[in-house]
Structure formats: C-alpha cells, structure tokens
Amino acid sequence: MVDFLNALVALSNFVLIPAIAYGSQLALGALGVTLIYGILRFSNFAHGDTMAFGAMITVLITWWMQSVGINLGPLPTALLALPFGILGCMALVLFTDRVVYKFYREQKAKPVILVIVSMGVMFIMNGLVRFIIGPGDQKFADGERFLISAREFKQLTGLREGLAIKTTQCLTVVVAIVCVTLLFWFLNKTRTGKSMRAYSDNEDLALLSGINPERVVMYTWLIVATLATVAGVLYGLDKTFKPFIYFQLLLPIFASAIVGGLGNPLGAIAGGFVIAFSEVTVTYAWKKVLKYLLPENLEPSSLVQLLSTDYKFAVSFVILLIVLLFKPTGLFKGKSV
C-alpha cells in the first residue's frame, strides 16, 4: 500500500503536475491560434512571437516594479505587470492588423498568402523582441517558489517520495481556468461573442445579418493578444523567458490546435492537454514509478524511458500526423478552408 502511494506521488510529481501546467500553457496558446484560424482564416506563424512580445512587456514592467519595491508578497510580481503586458501586446497586434493584415483581408487574398505575410510579421516581431530585451535568458519570477516542497511533503506524510508543487504551476492552472471560463462566457453569452461565432461559422450569412466584420476582427485580435500574453507569461514564469523558446513553442501549439480541430476552442484545450501529456509520458524515465509497483525481482534495470527528452517535438508531431491521417478534422470537429 505504501509502495502504491509512493508510486502515485512519484507519478504526480514528475508526470501529472508538470503535464497539467504545460498543458494549460499550450491550451492558452492553441486557443489564440484557433481563434485566428476560425475568424481570420489563416494559420498565424507569428503567434509564438506574439507570446514572446507580450511576455517581454510584462518582464520589463515586472523589473520596474521590483526596482521600486512593488510586490505581491508570496505571488510573483509578474501578475501585477500582466495587465500592462496585455495592453502592450494588444497595441502591437492591432497596429499589425491595421498596417499589414487589413490590406489582404480587403483583397480577399488566399489563406496561404496570409500565412506568408504572417511569416514576415514573425520575422519583425522576433527581431523586435531580440532588439529590445536581447536573445538571452531573463529571470523575472519572484515570490514564494514552492507551494509545498518535496522535503515538507516527505516530513508531512512519511513517504519516501516527495511531492513538490511550484507556485507557478498552481498559478498556471488557476489563471488558465479563469481565462478559459471568461473566454467561453464571452463567446456564448455576450453579443460580440455571438457575432464572432456567427462570423466564424458562416461569413456571408453573418455579413447579411448586419455584423460588422471589422469589429469582429478587432475583438478577435484583442482576445488573441490577451491569451498570447497570459500564455507567454505563464510559460516564462514556470520555465524561463527566452525569445527563441517561444518560437519553438509554435510547433506544439499548432499541434494542439490541429489535434483538437482547428477553429474549435474546446478542441484547442483538449489538444493542449493531449500533446502535453504525451510529451511528458513518452519522455519520462518510468523506472522511479515502476520500482514501487513491480515485485523486486522484476525491477527494471534501465531507465524505462521510451524516448530521450530531446525528441519531444517528435511526439507532438507524430500525434499530429496520426490525427490528420485518421481524423482530419481533429478530435472535436474543426473546420477546413
């Protein structure tokens, strides 16, 4: 029985909790991608760098707050700076939309042209972030590091395995739940949200019913900027802020959105967790858990790691491919252009 508990604790510590936190971050990112796909009808390659930009503004404001002594006690100061980051990111994406995307929308350009345009935006945003904050790692997390540390947990329960819950992991999940609840309330209950869904379902019909497309597009960008900044800041708090990492997050985020069904917000969340859990379980060394569960003579000699951690991209990609081949619209019904 104690062995079973130990195994359970080890599993939670190394697999469940990190995967839930990572899944929430991916889900927030994928929601942004999926909203743009649903309303503006293209895959936004600049999304990773939008996340980086919003997170960067937050980091800068956090540093300023730390320097003048504003803090949230046990919670990271970044939470206070987050609204400013969101505002900065909103300003950037609205500016980009006005200067860049609007022209192609009016031309009714093919989606693939918009994807190439978003490649250009990606270059600019990436350059901008590196220009302002530099390409290196930046530390901005403060406050209490652990909600419960491994040592405290061991003393409390007397088990051999420790369970550590980082404040940032807990925060990630809470913030993600709040964001998703607000988003779904907005999409389902408010007038603007309903018109967004109508526009996404059938553009012509929505236009006929007098929905103003520019307004819908503007609200979409505002929501996307919010989600991207929140996702970027949470990821930065939980792991590290490095501009290049956000660019690399693009792949798992797209994988999440597609696995769930592009254009479907519920799917994006499910997809985020599917990708996160597969990445973590496939690259985790299971020896630690198995040694409690199996009888002593069967104890594995190797690490029982299916793939080395560097192959986590491969995991999200293989899942993506399997879903595309067997269920092209994703787990939840997405749309196709």
């Binding site: 860049v100 190439i116 345009v117 490649m119 530099g134 991209f313 990609f317």
Partner: protein, 434 residues
C-alpha cells in the same frame, strides 16, 4: 527587350554590391558572400520548384539542407575502424526491424476491417516492434559510441571523394522527401506547412541526438575538401611565386584561391540546375505543373494525377535543397547540427524566393543573392546606423550601449520589413513569372 534590360540591370546591381564589398571591406568577405549566395540560390531554385511551379507550401527546408550535410559525413569522412563490426550491422538490423514494424502496421491497417480487434493488434505490433527495435538498437549504438569517443564514436563515412557527397546529399534528401510526401502531401496547404515544419525539427533532433550517426552536437570537424589546403599552397614554392607575381602575399593568395575554387564549383552546380529548371519550366511537364497549381480541380478533371505530380515535384525540390546542404557543409568543412535554425535555413530561403519572384527561376537566383548580401551586410549597416543616431548621447549612457549591442538583431527586423514590403507593393517579386 526592356524586361531583359531590367533583369540584367538587377543582376548587375547585385554583382556591383559584391564588388563594392570587395573594394571597401575585403575580398575574403566578398567571396564569402558570393559563395553562400550561390548555395542559397541553389536552395531557392529547389523551393521555387515546389512553391513557384506547384504551389506546395514546404517550410521544412532546413531538414533537407541538414540531410545534405549529413551525407557529406557519411560519404566523405574516413571510415571509423571497427565501427561496422562492433555495432554498424546491429544498427542496420534495428532500422530494418523498425521499418518492418511500420510496414506491418500499414498493411494491417489496409487488410483488416476497422474495429476493436484491429486497434488491439495494431497496438501490439507497434509496441512489440518498438521494444524489439530498442533491444537490438541500444547495444549496437553503445558499441559504436565506445570507439575512440573523443574524436570519433560514430559510424564514420565511406572515405569516398567529397564531391560524390553532393549528389548523395540530394539522394538522401529525396528519399526523406518521398517518405514525407507519401504521408503528408494529401494535407491542405496550412497543414502541410505545419507538418513540414515539424519534420524539419525532427530531422535536426535526430542529428543532434544520434551520436553514432554523425557525433551529434559534438560536431564532425575537418571534413575532407575537394580543394587543396591553404597551408599546403603556402608551402608550395610554385604557388608562392605566382602569387608574388600578382603582387599578393602567400596567405591572402591561398585563401582567395581556395574560396574562388569553391565559387567555380558552386557556379557550375547552380548553372546546371538552373538550366534544368528552365527546361522543366518550358516543357509540357512544367505547363502541367502550373496548370495543377492554378486549378487543381480542373487539372484533375483533365486526367492529371495531381497526387503523383505533387509527390514528384516535392521530391525533386527537396533533393535540390539536399545538394545545397551538402555544398554548404563542404564549404564549412564541418557538420554542426546545433547551428541549423528555422529562421535562417527555412524562412530566409522563403524570403529569397518571394522577393526574387516566385515561379521564375532567375528571380529565385536573384532574390537569393540579394537577400543573402543584405543578411550579411545589414549587421555592419545597422551598427553604423546605431552609432549615427546615438552619436549625440553621452558615452556612458545605458541606452546607447543597449542600442549598439542590439544592432546585430536588426537583420531579422530588416528581413521581415523587406518581405512585407515586397508582398504588399510588388507581390510577384522583382522578376515576375512570365
């Protein structure tokens, strides 16, 4: 005729830019720009084949370029003594086992009716196959990696002449492209883009982690070269004498000689590929490709096998990128998987093709040379610009220091701005498709 004039003028402009670099900076850096520009031009031809001719949105160029680089190691590197006996055979066996598992799963998928029993058998095959694969693969790999790990520890090459590695790189990339195309080409443009983006990352991950293959992030250095070493030239009295007669010191003369030698080799490859691409464009095959690109449904209705043609051109274009990758690794003389980054090896090539003019081979070549020149030169230009605008600030000002330190990141910004400007005001590129 005026169009011809304009195009010639554009090429002359690029040539002039490179010459100016030669006169005002150094001939070494001018020829470096020229050499990498030629390689980029080869990549751009490959991408133009896929995007310009057939409308395939491939953002996995980096992967094929890296495979070309891998081919150089596998073909030209000296063989590692004992690698084949201590594990090489085992690795090959394991790879065959892995391939058989996947083939078995695909056959099963086709043969059996969908249902729970199919899923279960499928899972059993895949999981069993995976563990069998690891059981054969892991000992073989550790056997290879034990051999002289400080300098080798990899399977080694065949010791063949390095120029053979160029077509081999093309073949390796073509093989990978065939596999990828078989699975991913049925996808819509957006999905294909994301699929290829992912595959490129996986190829790089494999090259970084499979140390038995090409030493992973430990890098392979000192690859064989098709041209003599500079140091040998400097010790050759005949060469020193002829350098002196040109008024050059032996060191400069030898580096220039070797670099120009590469330029000649690359130019030959570029011209051959350009000629082939032009022929393909004008042929009935090229017209069919453009017909498919412009209206897939109509082409299908005319009895064209769209899927097969897409696969064909995907393989061809990727092979060209593989050749370019092999050329680049030969020029560098080393394979460093850590340096492959999508911004540099995928998206920059896309900027080249779009700016040059998608659908036009000469446009792709021009775009490649021009964008590569800018990519190299924007950094010093940005530094100069930053020094100009910060000249009024105090020397110890943090802002000034930050601006000058960040000047290096101007190049990404510039590339993005160029791409957006071209897309907006001249969407067909500098030399548009006819």
């Amino acid at each position: 005729m005026s169009e011809m004039m304009k195009n010639t003028a554009l090429f002359a402009l690029v040539a002039a830019l490179i010459l100016i670099t030669g006169f005002y900076q150094s001939w070494n850096s001018a020829i470096f720009i020229l050499n990498m520009g030629l390689i980029s031009a080869v990549m751009a031809i490959g991408v133009n084949l896929q995007w310009g001719f057939a409308g395939l949105f491939n953002v996995g160029i980096m992967g094929f370029v890296a495979l070309g680089g891998l081919a150089v190691v596998l073909i030209a590197e000296v063989p590692t003594p004992g690698a084949w006996t201590s594990g090489g055979v085992g690795v090959i066996m394991a790879l065959i086992l892995g391939a058989m598992t996947i083939v078995a799963a695909t056959v099963l998928n086709k043969m059996m009716q969908p249902g729970r029993s199919r899923t279960l058998i499928m899972l059993a095959i895949l999981i069993g196959g995976f563990f069998l694969f690891r059981a054969v693969f892991d000992p073989a790999v550790s056997g290879i990696e034990k051999i002289n790990p400080a300098a080798q520890g990899n399977i080694g090459g065949l010791g063949l002449p390095v120029l053979l590695a160029w077509p081999a790189g093309g073949l390796l990339a073509a093989g990978a492209a065939w596999l990828i195309g078989k699975t991913a080409l049925g996808l819509r443009s957006d999905y294909l883009a994301i699929a290829t983006l992912g595959i490129a990352e996986i190829i790089i991950a494999v090259m970084k982690n499979e140390d038995w293959l090409a030493r992973g992030v430990k890098n392979v250095i000192g690859l064989p070269r098709p041209l003599p070493n500079e140091i040998d030239l400097q010790n050759d009295p005949g060469f020193v004498e002829s350098a002196a007669s040109l008024g050059l010191d032996p060191v400069t003369a030898s580096t220039l000689y070797v670099k120009l030698g590469y330029s000649v080799l690359f130019t030959v490859v570029l011209l051959v590929l350009l000629w082939m691409a032009q022929m393909a464009l004008k042929s009935p095959w090229g017209r069919m490709m453009r017909a498919i690109r412009d209206n897939e449904v109509a082409a299908r209705a005319m009895g064209k096998d769209v899927t097969k043609r897409h696969l064909q051109i995907f393989v061809l274009g990727s092979a060209i990128c593989g050749v370019a990758g092999a050329m680049m690794t030969t020029l560098d003389g080393q394979l460093t998987p850590g340096t492959y980054q999508p911004l540099r090896f995928t998206f920059l090539i896309w900027v080249m093709v779009i700016v040059g003019g998608s659908g036009n081979n000469f446009g792709a070549v021009l775009g490649a040379m021009l964008i590569w020149f800018l990519w190299v030169q924007v950094e010093p230009m940005g530094l100069f610009f930053m020094e100009l605008i910060t000249s009024g600030m105090a020397d110890d000002s943090d802002l000034k220091k930050h601006l000058i330190d960040s000047a290096a990141h101007m190049r990404l910004l510039t590339m993005g701005v160029i791409l957006l400007l071209v897309l907006r005001f001249s969407p067909r590129g500098l030399i548009p498709e006819k």
